[in-house]
Amino acid sequence: MTIPAEHTIIDRILAGEPSVYAELVNKHKSYAFTIANKILQNRAEAEEAAQDAFIKAYHHLSTFNREAKFSTWLYRIVFNTAISYKRKSRHTFQSIENTVLEYSPDGEGTLERTDKRKYLALAMARLNEADRTALTLFYLDELSLEEIAEITGMQANTAKVRIHRARLRLADELKLILKQEALTL
């Protein structure tokens, strides 16, 4: 969906056609959910926060500045909503600090994709919330540094430094988890 197409949908919603909002939700729900889940580390809460963010965005559509990207505006709402859920949440999340992982290289020295995903999730979970979110936004591969800065409320330079340092920490965490050999896949 192009930016003008999104603007047309927004115009239609504001003109009294709320059902077309489903198209915007469908387009952005995965990223919105991913951002919320990286902050909250809890699927049920992330789903609720992402839904809340979409509802907030819908009710504030008239304030959306057409010069900005809808996705950036929406993800900022998702980010703030998830942060606010995090502050209120009384959940005690399962600690992964003491999780023991044993590295056992298979015959061909490669890890299955599902294992990679699991180890990556584990490494990500060991980072702090700000690093995790910045990295997710960065690797979702749709957003520029300026957009990431706008979503997270940081200066572009601060965002760049944070992402660089988070990438270093992620590499170190993965190294710890997989041991040096696994990184030479």
């Binding site: 709320p18 939700v25 839904q51 009710h59 994709r113 990556l120 430094v161």
Partner: protein, 184 residues
């Protein structure tokens, strides 16, 4: 193993992302050819990047996500605002109880006997008076008498102002917003 300076380590990402300018790129490549630790770190980071490029970080929400959002579009403010409202109401009740108690205590004369005086004419220690200021004559300042009753009354007034603010944010605004949305 020698520790790699953080700035240099961070520069590796610019190198990997292809965003390093020509001069810095040249400088880094020279450094890489002389520094095996830095080269090893670059290889390590490159492997992680390669690893990440094969995995999508995107997570999929539940199947009925869109339906749930569309079904809740009229429910506004959302859950978080409701929680804020509820907390605000508790805060308001707390403030009003505190104000009520303070008023009862003031009217029963508990604070009538509490008096204090703030003396502004404290003498400065000699070491703080400049030596080249021989004609330093301290001016006489008035002493301020404060009664406990006055202080508590001021606190009550401030609390009433705060209670009004909380009432506005936690009760009146959400109420009018709900009415406004119900009217659409």
């Amino acid at each position: 193993m020698k520790k790699i300076p953080q700035a240099l380590e961070e520069m590796l990402f610019d190198y990997l992302d292809g965003t390093l300018n020509a001069a810095d790129k040249q400088r880094l490549e020279t450094e890489l050819s002389h520094n095996p630790e830095l080269k090893a770190r670059l290889d390590e980071l490159q492997n992680v990047e390669l690893w990440l490029s094969k995995i999508s970080l995107e997570e999929i929400p539940s199947r009925n996500f869109t339906q749930q959002v569309m079904g809740k579009l009229d429910q506004y403010p959302a859950r978080s605002s409701t929680l804020i409202s509820r907390n605000g109401i508790f805060l308001l009740i707390g403030i009003l109880v505190a104000v009520g108690l303070a008023t009862i205590l003031v009217s029963s004369g508990v604070f009538d006997g509490v008096q204090t005086t703030i003396n502004l004419n404290q003498e400065l220690p000699q070491k703080y008076i400049p030596k080249n200021l021989p004609q330093f004559v301290p001016k006489s300042l008035p002493a301020i008498a404060l009664s406990g009753k006055l202080i508590v009354n001021i606190v009550i007034l401030l609390n009433l102002g705060l209670a009004w603010l909380v009432l506005d944010r936690a009760v009146l605004r959400p109420l009018f917003q709900r009415r406004m949305h119900a009217g659409h």
